[in-house]
Amino acid sequence: MLKYLEGSHAVSQVVAMCRPQVISAYPITPQTHIVEDLARLVSEGRLDAEFINVESEFSAASVILGASAAGARAYTTTTSQGLLLMTEVLYCIAGMRLPIVLTCTNRAISAPLNIWNDQQDSMTVRDAGWIQVYAEDNQEAADLHIQAFKIAEQTNLPVMVCMDGFILTHAFEPVDIPEPQEVDAFLPAFKPQHIVDPRWPRALGLYADPRFYMETRYILHRALEKSEDVIKQVSADFSRAFGRPSGGLIRTYKLENADLVIVTMGSVAGTVKDLIDALEEEGKQVGLLQIGSFRPFPKQAIYRALKDKMNIVVLEKAVSLGRGGILASDVRWSFPRGERKGRVISSFIAGLGGRNISTDSLREMVERVCLEPVELDFLGLNKEIIAERDL
């Protein structure tokens, strides 16, 4: 049923329909409304789950690690400093192959302190062995959670659903909220494959000396690569069951005849689509390639979509300091040996710490990359602030 509600509220309603058995989370802006809602649903008896209060995100992640190892469908949500505080446990969860779902309400990283949106938090833990998917709008944010539990439990890999903080979490817009029985039909009850149980002692993630450790990392790497098929399949199944496209590895918009392709992920894709329509009316053919799954990184799908495109610009809300665009690097390496030649792949960092990404600034970006390749630039910098510094 189409409802008008806040993004956080849409996510908490849908997460509840996925019937997590254990939830543990520590409140942090802009994730707070999700965890408040879920706590309320549990306390009112409308969600049959254990909600475990903790003193930090490190403990929240540890609690759900244990819960998942014991065979429970487990869920947490965090952002920014909270996600970084979880980092050690995130690697353990992936290494132990626990199918946990985490919502990251993307927010900037300190210092300086900033509560607003960018994607530096999830991008920083991209190598932890989690599947990472990015939502364009609140409909997709809600839908991706239903898919995430299914993908996680089919692959024994944890899934991080990333949605832009404030821009999505605090936005009110219409979202089609499914009926609980529809979700039940799509997402069967969790049947754990390996349970830690005192009646049948076994250990998880204990110790691997140099004879074994490398193989565990290789196997995890291959599992992530192979999860591409599951992500695609679950997305297709979801579209059939719920009647709307959602999720998947990549999505495109007006790509076919485009002379220039913008590659991005997350909520800014909506703004980009409006710009593409405006440019089309002016006779300019620009297309969009939207990354749905950032890990695994669907390099073959990206290559297939972009192999005839000679002018590409990557727009992202995170930066590898001292290197440049993270998504841009990955896109550049998606082309096989020799295929980079003659191809322009520009890189723009935008929207850090909640800086508004305006249509005007995107238009300037398009105009610039139509004239010359841009190795790396930051969109919409205030030159007055940086002028006094010795750069």
């Binding site: 404030f166 605090h170 936005a171 009110f172 817009e173 219409p174 990404i357 249509t359």
Partner: protein
């Protein structure tokens, strides 16, 4: 697409105003989007909230920079925040003030309207929260969102006495604006 920017201070119900207005537009059968731009996350700090209303799904996520409509919940913000920035020359700005529009001496070609929303809020709701009165004035002047839908949105968000008081305040705002102007000059 209709774009509205709401200016106020933390505690004046700016985000709630955006939420209610967009929800009402949704109830009127339109697509709507509302989102806040928080400042320092404390009572009294300047806050902005944005509303978009359209007949097709709304995709853009940028802040509203060229609004057709401005709702200003605290007239003294005009001296400290560039409230009028980007307002369309033929737009409308509604200010919470107990003076007539001319007295504000706003530097804009847009239409200016005033309503003593804080006084009305204190009288009917018992709290200096002007948001529903400002929404009432907006609906009354523009007719872009139906009062009936706003009433339903208010009752949904605030069940019981609080909702009824807010509905009464909304109706008072409508009556005042229908009489011609918010404040006799």
């Amino acid at each position: 697409m209709i774009e509205i920017r709401i200016h106020g201070r933390g505690g004046q119900g700016n985000v709630a105003a955006a939420e209610l207005l967009a929800n009402a537009a949704f109830k009127d059968g339109k697509y709507a989007q509302a989102f806040p731009s928080f400042g320092a996350e404390r009572i009294g700090a300047p806050v902005q909230a944005f509303v978009r209303i359209d007949h097709k799904p709304i995709r853009t996520r940028e802040e509203v920079r060229q609004p057709g409509y401005l709702i200003v919940q605290d007239r003294y913000l005009i001296d400290t925040v560039p409230v009028l920035d980007g307002l369309k020359p033929d737009g409308l700005v509604i200010v919470n003030a107990d003076t007539c529009p001319e007295d504000l001496q706003l530097k804009t070609t847009a239409t200016v309207a005033t309503i003593p929303a804080t006084e009305i809020a204190l009288e009917i709701i018992g709290k200096p929260i002007p948001n529903v009165i400002m929404i009432g004035a907006f609906c009354s002047i523009t007719g872009l969102v139906s009062l009936e839908a706003v009433q339903r949105a208010i009752r949904e968000k605030f069940p019981g006495k609080m909702g009824e008081n807010n509905v009464a305040a909304l109706e008072r705002a409508h009556e005042i604006m229908q009489k011609g102007k918010g404040q006799p000059c």
